[in-house]
Structure formats: structure tokens, C-alpha cells
């Protein structure tokens, strides 16, 4: 889809090229993340794809076509471009910003207009509310959304994203990342994404290119393989400590066996709840409403204290969706008093819980899978060595951040 062949950038007066004979193929419909330490040339590499920076030598192919010498403005209209500072045109309205490329491509006015509304809805901004506003009236996160909408407006097959979520606060970033991943499931663009943040790379990438100096590819692989089988010390170092923890950010709750927890319906009353607690020999029981939606955690002491109604006693319940990452579930779990987080289905009904046992089991499963994967390609001796290394690596404590979606707390009612 995007092919780079021997792509090189030399700046006059510098002995070393900034990008040195890079070969890279980006498959159709995938997000390929370029990640590496600052100054490694990842941004230069990306900017050569739409020729904001002209390569010194090498070939750029787009959908098989050599675009190294096509007029750059024509090329750029076929490539969506999102940058960290967004760069919305402040003197234009939101609608005018989004309409820029369709206008350059001389679309008919009504086609452009309906496309603008479609794009605003796509990025979750109500067209009626925002169409005629100016960029300065939006928050950072909203501007970033408009930046994405502008890049997508003419439906380019390819998008380049240069640290697109780098300038917003961590909570907004998390949200924008999740939204964009959901969006990508529908639009299936071929995307080159630049970041210096390995956690973001792991989260966003279908594949990750770890770049070293002069934009030399150290490893080009799936996030799973990069984490479990870093090709060089350089990659391992770049991933940093806590690879296991990061792997939890890749795994989805739905893919693992959940723990059962004693539950009791509020309608059945206090006695039934106490009975369920006794039967399971657990510390607390999960109270459900009539649609089996979790309402409160109740400990024995809560239940034996008379007075408060079942809807109010105990502690609030933290829930996650099945598509949440294990890292997200772990995060909620650690902050919940019960030591477990409740998994609910799309309608909010109880399906199981994630507790420490589930996490440990999942981590073990993933480690085994990774080990098999890695050793399958090596001779037995190396395999054994690698296995020892992996075991050693696992023993290193946590250090990385946990990704995953922020979870909602069931409100008191």
C-alpha cells in the first residue's frame, strides 16, 4: 500500500544522513507505528511520505504508483495529515476547516457540505453545534478531533499521524486513542503513526517499527512480538521495564476465563444475600438488580447492620466492558476495596469478575504463548537460554504504565 524503497534524507553540512536507505512496506488497512528515541528520524521519515520533506534519494510508492516525482500538492490531497499541534486554520470556521481538501479537489458545494456534517458526526461532534464555530472556541481534544475530520474529509486511502495525541492531557489522550481505534475499525485506512511513546505504539499499532539512529529499522513486528521477543537489546531497552505489564495492555478481558463471585438479587432480600455469602465463604457479595446489573458490594458487616436498604449499603461497584484491556481491569481492581472488578455485558448485566487470580492466570497464558512463539523459530539450545532470560525478565518488577480504558462506576441510586 505504502512502499518506501531506499529512502534517504541527507541534510547539507551533515556527515550522517538523517534517514539512511529505509525500506518499509505498510500493508493496506493497518496502523503502522514508527517509534524510536527522539532524533532517530521517525518524523523525517513520515514527512517524506507526503514530501513535506523531499527525500534526497529513494522511491515512495502509494498504491503501487511511484509518487516520488508527482506534483506534491496532488499527492498531499490523497494523504490525510494530522500533526500534534493540529494546525487548524484559526480564521476559518470548523466547517471551512473540514472542507478544505474537498474544496481543493473542486467538489460540488452540496457534496462538500454533507461530507462536512458526516465527518463531524464521525468524530463525535454535533454538526449543528460546532459547524459555524471557530477553532479558538474548542477544547484541545475537540480541536484534535477536527484535525482528524479534516484529514479524513476527502476520504484519502492513507493517513499520516505525527504524535497526533501528544498535546492533550492524559485523560483526553486515552479517550482520543480509544475513539480513533473504534473509528479505524470502520474506516480501515492505511496509517503511518509516529510517536515516541512505546505504550501508545503498543496500543495503537497493528504493527510497530522500532527505529534506531538514522531511522534504521531495529524491529518491524506486531506489538505482541515486540514485547515478548525484542529483536535486539536496543528494542528491549526501548520497551523498558515491565514488558509483562505492558502485555496486559494488549489483552482483552473477553479473551480470558472470568472468576465467579457470590451474587444475590436485591429483590430476594437480605437473608438471601447472607446465605449466598455463607455458601461461598467469601468476604462480600455482589448485589444485582432485577436486570442482573451490579448495584453494590456488600460485606457481611454491611448486611448485618440493620436499617439501610440494600441499594445503599456497602460500597459502589466498579465495572468494565468485555473489550477493556486487562491493564485497565487491573487498574480498576487495585483501586476497588473488594479486590475485584465486575465485568458487564453490553446491557450492563453481570457476566463475571476479574480478580488477581484471573490476571495471574492470563499473564501465565500469555507468557507461555510468547515463549512457544519465540522458541519455535530457534534451535533448542537457544530456546532454553531465551526461556531463562524470559523468566528472569518476568521477575523484574512493574515499571511501565498500565494502559486500558478508564472504567465507569455504577452510580448510587
Amino acid at each position: 500500500m505504502i512502499g518506501l524503497e531506499g529512502l534517504t534524507k541527507r541534510y547539507p553540512g551533515q556527515s550522517e544522513p538523517a534517514v539512511d536507505a529505509l525500506d518499509l512496506a505498510v500493508p493496506e488497512g493497518e496502523i503502522v507505528v514508527l517509534v524510536g528515541p527522539s532524533g532517530c528520524g521517525k518524523t523525517t521519515t513520515m514527512k517524506m511520505i507526503n514530501r513535506i520533506i523531499e527525500p534526497t534519494s529513494g522511491i515512495i510508492r502509494l498504491q503501487g504508483e511511484d509518487v516520488t516525482r508527482t506534483p506534491p500538492d496532488d499527492l498531499r490531497r490523497r494523504i490525510g495529515y494530522v500533526i500534534q499541534q493540529v494546525g487548524l486554520f484559526p480564521h476559518m470556521t470548523i466547517a471551512e476547516n473540514v472542507a478544505v481538501v474537498p474544496k481543493l479537489l473542486k467538489w460540488k458545494n452540496d457534496r462538500t457540505r454533507s461530507r462536512v456534517d458526516e465527518m463531524l458526526e464521525l468524530v463525535g461532534m454535533d454538526p449543528g453545534t460546532y459547524r459555524d464555530r471557530h477553532p479558538k472556541e474548542l477544547s484541545g481534544g475537540q480541536r484534535q478531533r477536527i484535525g482528524v475530520a479534516r484529514a479524513l474529509a476527502a476520504d484519502p486511502p492513507v493517513m499520516l499521524m505525527d504524535e497526533p495525541f501528544g498535546a492533550v492531557d492524559p485523560i483526553a489522550r486515552e479517550k482520543l486513542q480509544n475513539e480513533f481505534l473504534r473509528l479505524q475499525e470502520d474506516i480501515k485506512k492505511t496509517i503511518v503513526f509516529v510517536t515516541h511513546d512505546i505504550d501508545e505504539a503498543i496500543k495503537m499499532g497493528d504493527r510497530i517499527v522500532v527505529l534506531g539512529d538514522r531511522s534504521v529499522i531495529k524491529q518491524y513486528d506486531t506489538p505482541e512480538r515486540i514485547l515478548s521477543d525484542p529483536a535486539y537489546d536496543f528494542v528491549a531497552e526501548f520497551i523498558g521495564a515491565g514488558a509483562s505489564l505492558k502485555r496486559l495492555g494488549l489483552a482483552r478481558v473477553r479473551d480470558f476465563a472470568l472468576a465467579d463471585w457470590p451474587v444475590s438479587s436485591i429483590a430476594d432480600g437480605r437473608e438471601a444475600a447472607l446465605k449466598a455469602l455463607a455458601a461461598a465463604g467469601a468476604e462480600s457479595v455482589l448485589l444485582l438488580d432485577e436486570q442482573r446489573r451490579p448495584v453494590r458490594w456488600a460485606a457481611r458487616s454491611d448486611l448485618s447492620r440493620s436499617g439501610a436498604s440494600l441499594e445503599r449499603l456497602g460500597t459502589p461497584v466498579t465495572v468494565v466492558q468485555p473489550q477493556a484491556t486487562l491493564a485497565g481491569a487491573l487498574d480498576s481492581m487495585v483501586s476497588s476495596r473488594v479486590g475485584a472488578v465486575v465485568v458487564v455485558d453490553g446491557r450492563g448485566a453481570y457476566t463475571g469478575t476479574v480478580d488477581m487470580g484471573v490476571i495471574m492466570q492470563a499473564a501465565e497464558t500469555m507468557r507461555d504463548a510468547a515463549r512457544q512463539n519465540a522458541t519455535a523459530q530457534l534451535d533448542p539450545e537457544q530456546g532454553a537460554e531465551l526461556e531463562r532470560e524470559l523468566d528472569g525478565g518476568e521477575a523484574e518488577g512493574p515499571g511501565g504504565s498500565t494502559g486500558g480504558a478508564p472504567d465507569t462506576t455504577v452510580p448510587r441510586r
Binding site: L75, V86, G87
Partner: protein, 215 residues
Amino acid sequence: MGFFDYLVSNRERVLTLALEHLVIVLEALAIGTVIGLLLGVLTARRPRLRGVVLGVAGLILTVPSFALFSLLFGFIGKLGAAVVLPGLVAYSLLPIIRNTVTGLLSVDPAVVEAAKGVGMGPVRRLLRIELPLAWPIVLTGVRVSAVLLVGIAALGTLVRGPGLGELIFSGLRLIGSPNATNLALAGTLGVLVLAVLLDVGFLVISRLTTSKGIR
């Protein structure tokens, strides 16, 4: 005769001269804006050339207007507006060029890169993005020049130029006669009023022609 009586009885002459004054200032300003904008655009991204152009424009401004008009008369060999107009154009350049450069350089580089990224060529970028964003600053330069020119144009009368200068210099020539003060006062006040009108006028134009998004 009191000043007010003088004004009433000579209102036609005063108004005619004020109009002449305004016209030659606006003409010079129009030409100066075109030249200044062009020079500003051409030199904004070329620091060395910019230094030379701004230096020359600044130098012009230090030449006493009387001297400049005399010099121009020497070159052109004619009197009147033919000398005053190019003189005024020359004086208008510095604020316009400097503000054009400042305005263009103040455009957020991320915005320019985004414009490149969506496939706008250099001319389109300049006309659709950079100049509209620089516009309030450019217009401030034009406004400063306008006020400056109103004052300088009064001296144009020394080379038989049009405008309110004539009243002031008549007053000067007639010192001691009963109407001298009235003449000078009418000319001076006329210049002041024109300056204020132009200043306010350009403020209004700036409000009307600047996008809500950058106000």
C-alpha cells in the same frame, strides 16, 4: 472675526482643501499598501533582503519631508501633486512593510505546515492562510501610515501640493494680519480631524475585515 465666524464664511474653501488633502493621502496610501505588501511578502522569509529593504524604508522616513519634496522636485521637474504623491508613498512604506513582515512571521508554523499538508501550493497558502492571518497586523501598519501621511501631506503645499497645508502656510505668511491665526488654526484642526477620522476609519475596516476566529 472670530474663528467660528471665519470657518462658517470660508467653509467651502476649508472643505475643498480637506477633501484634496484626504484624496492625496488615500491615493498615496493605496499605492504604498500595494508596494509595501509586495515588499513585505517578498522579504518576510529572506532575512538579509528584509534587512536591506527595511533599512532603506527607515532611512526615507528620517529625511525631512521638506528636503525630500525638494529633491523629488529636482528629479521630476514639476510642482504639485506629481511631487507630493511619490513623496507620501515613500513615507508610507516603512510601517506597512514592517507590519506585513511581522504579521507573516507571526503565523503559527503548525498552521502553515497543515496548509502544506492538505495540498495548498505556495500562492494559495499565502492568499488563503498567511495573509488573512497576518491581516490585522498589516492593517495596523496601514493605519499608522495613514495618520503619518496626513501630517506630512500638510507640508506638500511647499511644492504647491494640494490640501490643508495651504491654510497653515497662508497663516504663516500673513502673520500679524487679523486672519493669520484663523487660517493656521483651520488648517491645523483640519489635519487633526482628518487624522482622527482615518484612524477610526481603519479601526472599523479592521473590525469588519478580520475573521471572528482571530479577533
